[in-house]
Amino acid sequence: MAIVRVDEVSRHYGEGDARVVALDRVSLDIERGDYTAIMGPSGSGKTTLLSILGSMNPPTDGRLLVDDIDVYALSQERQADLRREYIGFVFQQLELIPYLSALENVMLPLAILKESGKRERALDALCRVGLDERKARRLPSELSGGEQGRVAIARAVVNNPPIVLADEPVGSLDQTTGRQILTLLRELADGGHAVIMVTHNPESTAEVDRVIQIRDGRITCDERPEICTLPEEEGEALPVGGVAG
């Protein structure tokens, strides 16, 4: 069973003449262990799709099923629970909380839980991304870009969620650091997480299993990366491969 099922999802903004169709009847399934890149030019709808997958942006039509749960049929409170249990986020600018140490940033999703062992779990997550206890005590501003990226990934997986969403995770990083982050995401997928990454950079798709291209709110390609790539940022040629809706 797919961990994520997007079923005929549409998202419109505005009304009347100002109506903008961000997504138009998009459907897709994502399995555990999939490393998927969502690509497309600016304004194509890829970020909207990511926010809908993240249970933060209700679609105008259609359903999002996570582990067979109809996410947007849940109350706001339950959606928050679902985010915490099922979804880890890696944000575009990493969005580490500047006044919390690396360890505290990783503990952030656990802070609202009344359970013991939170510190140990956070330290373990940091260890998995290659950061030791000494680094854990530092503020984000005292870490390198790569280390900050690792902290962001550790925060995303500290709850061991089946889904990890990454929004342009290497967009603000140098090439070497970016490559390290992409490798870490690959390792997460190999470890059984469904990793979904939004990117506009074809180079970021080197290690992904699958590329979903979006244009004008519709999936134009859903294939292996070597088949389904955009020739350029605002590419004109459609790739070979399955074309959805």
Binding site: M56, N57, A80, I97, M107, L108, N159
Partner: protein
């Protein structure tokens, strides 16, 4: 780590804004502490002065037939053929009520008509020394009587008889020495011949009896309780509070307190608005941060709680600063404005009120920002829309 640690960390990060909120709350608290301290001290001082201004209570025999009048209170029975008196033990009973500590003075008074050269005057037998202590408006020319054969004249009596201190006067056929006279008071004392109680008792044969007892309470606030207790202890007496001084005191106190509290209320409202606007600005700046919290599973109530914890911490800071500054100001103001002639003493209730105000202002002002933060759309906060 928990929400409290996150809130404290956030405050440390935004020291400037936190300091502004603490300052806003501290101003409100300091204003309240200052005004309340001054109002309470002024009230105590005024109470003290007014209490010394004369009796607050007059205990008379219970009777509906009144004709003789003194001190604005009629003495029962004169002119009706029979004058009712208080029992011998009444004075002791008044001095033994449960709230006796609140009784500054209990002065016995016997009023009797006397004859001088065929003319009738009203004589008052009393504890002249104690009476003169309580009645601060008495200006005695000469001295007050200390021996049974001595009298003090009211201004009108002195004018009528033309007697100066040292002269003799025959009252009801007995010789007395005039020790002094009272400068015009504009009250009943001007028409009295004042002498020791025992002397008037001997002179008139009315022994062991009293027409009234003048009671001075330690504070006007004790008048009602003393009235009740004396009424219960001396059942055949009528206890009348001298309303004028009590009402004047209360009115003056109320006006003063009202003025001070109105100013304080204005300061509190302005401070509350400053706190609320500062917190709203802070929330707006933290929009993305709140989006991250929501994305990692925080519920609306967690976000609201975070803001309220921050408000609580800042309120505590405002309470400490405000109480210290307000208390210091309350001690300094009387030193700077010597005409107030106030002595401010620390009042735990004022401090409690200040601390309570800090939390009320801080938390009320944080309610709206907390709601705004909690209701923030996480997708919009993270620029996903």
């Amino acid at each position: 780590m928990n929400l409290r640690a996150i809130a404290v960390g956030s405050l440390k990060r935004r020291k400037g804004k936190a300091a502004l909120v603490v300052l806003g709350i501290a101003v409100a608290v300091a204003a309240l502490v200052l005004v309340l301290s001054l109002v309470l001290s002024l009230r105590a001082t005024m109470d003290d002065k007014l209490s010394k201004f004369g009796s607050n209570l007059v205990v008379t025999p219970a009777s509906s037939r009144l004709s003789l009048s003194y001190g604005g209170v009629s003495v029962a029975g004169a002119g009706s053929g029979e004058i009712p008196y208080l029992t011998d033990s009444a004075l002791q009973e008044v001095r033994s009520v449960p709230s006796a500590a609140q009784v500054t003075a209990a002065v016995p008074v016997l009023l009797q008509p006397v004859k001088i050269d065929g003319r009738t005057f009203l004589a008052m037998g009393t504890d002249v020394a104690e009476s003169s202590t309580v009645k601060l408006w008495w200006r005695v020319q000469g001295r007050v009587p200390t021996a049974p054969g001595e009298v003090l004249m009211g201004q009108s009596v002195r004018n009528a008889l033309g007697l100066d201190p040292g002269k003799s006067v025959t009252i009801n056929g007995r010789p007395f020495t005039v020790t002094g006279w009272l400068e015009e008071t504009g009250a009943e004392e001007d028409n009295l011949i004042i002498m020791p109680l025992e002397a008037l008792s001997d002179l008139t044969g009315v022994k062991g009896r009293l027409n009234l007892i003048e009671v001075t309470a330690a504070s006007t606030g004790a008048v009602d309780q003393l009235t009740k207790e004396i009424s219960a202890s001396v059942p055949d007496a009528s206890v009348v509070s001298v309303k004028k001084s009590v009402e004047f005191t209360n009115q003056a106190n109320s006006s003063l307190a009202g003025f001070g509290l109105t100013i304080t209320l204005l300061i509190v409202i302005i401070s509350g608005l400053v706190v609320m606007i500062t917190m709203l600005t802070s929330i707006k700046e933290r929009q993305k941060e709140i989006g991250v919290f929501r994305a990692v599973g925080y519920k609306q109530r967690h976000i609201g709680k975070l803001v309220l914890i921050e408000a609580t911490v800042m309120s505590a800071g405002g309470a400490i600063v405000g109480v210290i500054v307000g208390s210091a100001a309350a001690f300094v103001v009387p030193l700077l404005v010597r005409s107030l002639s106030l002595t401010v003493t620390p009042n735990p209730l004022v401090i409690v009120a200040g601390v309570a105000l800090a939390f009320v202002v801080g938390l009320l002002a944080a309610l709206y920002p907390a709601r705004r933060a909690a209701a923030m759309d996480p997708a919009a906060a993270l620029k996903y829309i």
